[in-house]
Amino acid sequence: MNFTYNIEGGDFTNAGAPSSAVKKMLKQLGVNPDIIKRTVVALYEAEVNVVAHAYKGIITVDIEDDRIIIKLEDEGPGIEDINKAMTEGYSTASQKVREMGFGAGMGFPNMKTNSDKLTVNSTPGKGTSVEIINYF
């Protein structure tokens, strides 16, 4: 099964709606609740990153028999140093993002914790792509 969702940069009202839809779908499919939680937490963190940093993005979700593959591709400033972004406590988030309860430099480390496989690629000035794979 394939699904696509659009994300608008700065739109904190709709941030989380795709994660919510994925959660409902995985529940319907009878996926283990722990795996659902890991998957939607990783996706939600990634979604918040796009809303917080990029101009816009696309999420594609591919649900196979034994795994879920989630790709988030955004157009935005990109990440200069991915290793730094993966470091707990490192953040470039704006005041607005912090006021929403994020931007503490915990997103990428938490995505790693909640993904079986996490791949991050970025071109500064162009955008970032994140792939999350979780096995059922």
């Binding site: 919510s20 309860g101 994020f102 931007g103 938490n110």
Partner: protein, 115 residues
């Protein structure tokens, strides 16, 4: 501790989820940092105490399987927050007490801390 009793203890007002007040709460986590809430390994017996009242508070709870939230210091929930909470069968409670007082009362009453 039953949510009924928690509401009496903290002088709370239920603004969403009145039909679920018989549920039992075993643990409390208090934070305004949703990034931190998203790292918790928890289930529906956890209650979140927070001063952060926005839509992402509810979204964070949805992803984290947290069903009960107390908003401290008179922070008001919006109609959109309540609507999203209702969709997820959540309980939202508002209290005039501070985060410290709310947490202190719950701790004193024997509700456990997560860490």
């Amino acid at each position: 501790m039953k949510i009924h009793d928690i509401i009496n203890l903290i002088g709370g007002t239920v603004v969403e989820g009145k039909q679920f007040l018989d549920k039992e709460i075993t643990h409390v986590f208090a934070s305004d940092l949703m990034s931190d809430v998203l790292t918790l390994n928890t289930d529906e017996s956890l209650l979140l105490v927070t001063g952060l009242a926005n839509l992402q508070t509810i979204r964070t709870c949805e992803m984290s399987d947290i069903k009960t939230v107390i908003f401290v210091r008179g922070k008001k929930t919006s109609a959109e927050m309540r609507e999203l909470a209702a969709e997820n069968e959540m309980i939202l409670i508002e209290t005039p007490y501070s985060m410290y007082r709310t947490s202190g009362l719950l701790f004193q009453a024997g509700v456990l801390s997560l860490y």
